[in-house]
């Protein structure tokens, strides 16, 4: 480590692993990264122990890409540890950026999750009522597992974050662009992006990059994607298919709407939008073609589970962050 190679770590917390795969999906580019960097921790692809990270000096790592939300005490411990050891901490992917899919769990309580997963699940062995406990004593040994928190957090609710790379997962070309920009900044070849910047994405809404034709939007009912054969050229929202494009940052290349699938909002809100779900709510409800309260209710009844769809990746990042049921 006496050479001038960059020191990097890639860590996964409460995530599916897709973010790690998106880094691997940069194909041979990863070999370019390897030429200029030592990978000190990357649980999915390389050896490396937490104690090795604990033994590092503060700031010894140049960059850490942290993917996944913070769901339990292990996720938090590693977030704090990697923050301390890293010059630059990047929230990589929708979960670290906004809470992501795991963040949907914030609409129910921890007790409901335990109940559903361990006590009242059709796939359980009948009569098995075992639930995981943070500490348990077995044959005289004290065993511990990470503490399952009351709710899901996005990374910057736990530690200071330098940059954000959105996407579920980030598109490989954007991951490559983001990593290239950080390497250029760290090796003095380019100015660093301003702290807090969203890198690997653009400063406009997805609709700006969506190839579908847009005209006046007025709809009299919503369709779930399987209920209608969509016109391949026309804006999906105009056809009554709920698309998160108006409330989503561009950067992915509009791959979902190009393939006939409505945008799910994984790149997060466009610049200066505080609450992605609230903005989508505003956009979607304004195109309903009715002035009659009863008819409006009937049209909205064709739109099931709007809250989860509008905040699919952003519940912990929303204003209310979680359910406030008593």
């Amino acid at each position: 480590m006496g050479d001038s190679k960059l020191q990097i770590a890639i860590y996964w917390a409460a995530a599916c692993g897709g973010c790690d795969v998106s880094v691997l999906d940069t194909n041979e580019f990863i070999l370019e990264v390897d030429k200029v960097a030592d990978i000190r921790l990357w649980p999915i692809a390389a050896d490396g122990k937490y104690k090795d990270v604990e033994a590092m000096a503060d700031g010894e790592l140049d960059v850490t890409l942290y993917n996944g939300a913070v769901r339990n005490s292990e996720n938090e411990h590693l977030a704090r540890l990697l923050r301390q050891k890293s010059k630059i901490l990047v929230a990589y992917g929708s979960c670290a950026y906004m809470g992501g899919i795991p963040g949907l769990a914030n609409l129910v309580s921890r007790e409901e999750i335990i109940e559903r997963a361990y006590l009242n699940n059709p796939s359980l062995e009948p009569g098995n009522q075992t639930i995981p406990l943070p500490e348990v004593s077995v044959n005289g040994y004290e065993l511990e597992i990470p503490k399952f928190y009351r709710r899901v957090y996005k990374l910057d609710q736990i530690v200071d974050v330098d940059y954000y790379v959105p996407g579920c997962p980030p598109q490989p070309n954007q991951a490559q662009a983001a990593i290239t920009a950080l390497v250029a900044a760290l090796t003095g070849q380019a100015a660093a992006p301003p702290k807090g910047a969203v890198v690997g994405a653009y400063e406009r809404a997805l609709c700006d990059d969506c190839p579908r034709t847009k005209s006046e939007k007025k709809i009299t009912r919503f369709y779930r994607p399987w209920e209608i054969i969509a016109d391949p050229e026309r804006c999906l929202l105009e056809q009554g298919i709920l698309c998160a494009g108006p409330a989503t940052r561009s950067g992915c290349g509009a791959i979902c709407p190009s393939a006939g699938i409505p945008c799910r909002g994984c790149y997060g809100p466009p610049p200066n939008v505080v609450d992605q779900g609230a903005k989508l709510l505003s956009a979607v409800s304004s195109i309903i073609d009715s002035k009659d309260p009863q008819e409006i209710e009937q049209i909205l009844a064709t739109l099931p589970d709007f809250t989860s769809i509008a905040n699919r990746y952003s519940i912990p990042a929303s204003q209310l962050q979680r359910s406030h049921r008593p």
Partner: protein
């Protein structure tokens, strides 16, 4: 100490704010619990504002606009009418009680109606108790 609900009122400039003004100039007594924010049209009230008010500690949010058909901008209050039921669904999913957020049409001549409305909403929220949003977020932080 007894609980005094904090209610944020978003009132449209042309009808509802003038109605609230009429309540004042008519010296009608009503609950002092509403903090009024004047906006040009009820359609200006981004759902984000309502969520932010609740996040920042409001116990209730009252939205008032011109009666349907009376909008100064012709169509603005219809946008509010479409937005509101979806907003209520989202609030219910986040565990915010129905009584805390309310949409009412109040014209410039309905000073008494505005006063009665604020009294009614204040008493309903008083019975419900304080919003749990701030307390919940503080509990989350304490857990870790």
């Amino acid at each position: 100490m007894s609980f005094e609900p904090k209610i944020v009122g978003f009132l449209c400039n042309w009808c509802s704010y003038t109605g609230a003004d009429l309540a004042g100039t008519s010296r009608i007594h009503y609950a002092p619990n509403v903090r009024i924010i004047r906006v040009m049209c009820s359609a200006r009230i981004d759902p984000t504002f309502v969520l932010k008010a609740l996040h920042d500690g409001a116990d209730g949010v009252l939205i008032c606009g011109c009666h349907p058909g009376d909008c100064h901008y012709t169509e603005g209050n219809y946008k509010t009418m479409r937005r509101f039921p979806l907003l209520k669904r989202m609030l219910a999913d986040f565990g915010i009680e129905d009584e805390r957020v309310r949409l009412e049409w109040v014209s410039a001549s309905e000073g008494q109606r505005f006063a009665d409305l604020v009294d009614d909403m204040t008493e309903r929220i008083r019975a419900l108790g304080p919003s749990r949003v701030q307390a919940d977020l503080a509990t989350d932080m304490a857990e870790r």
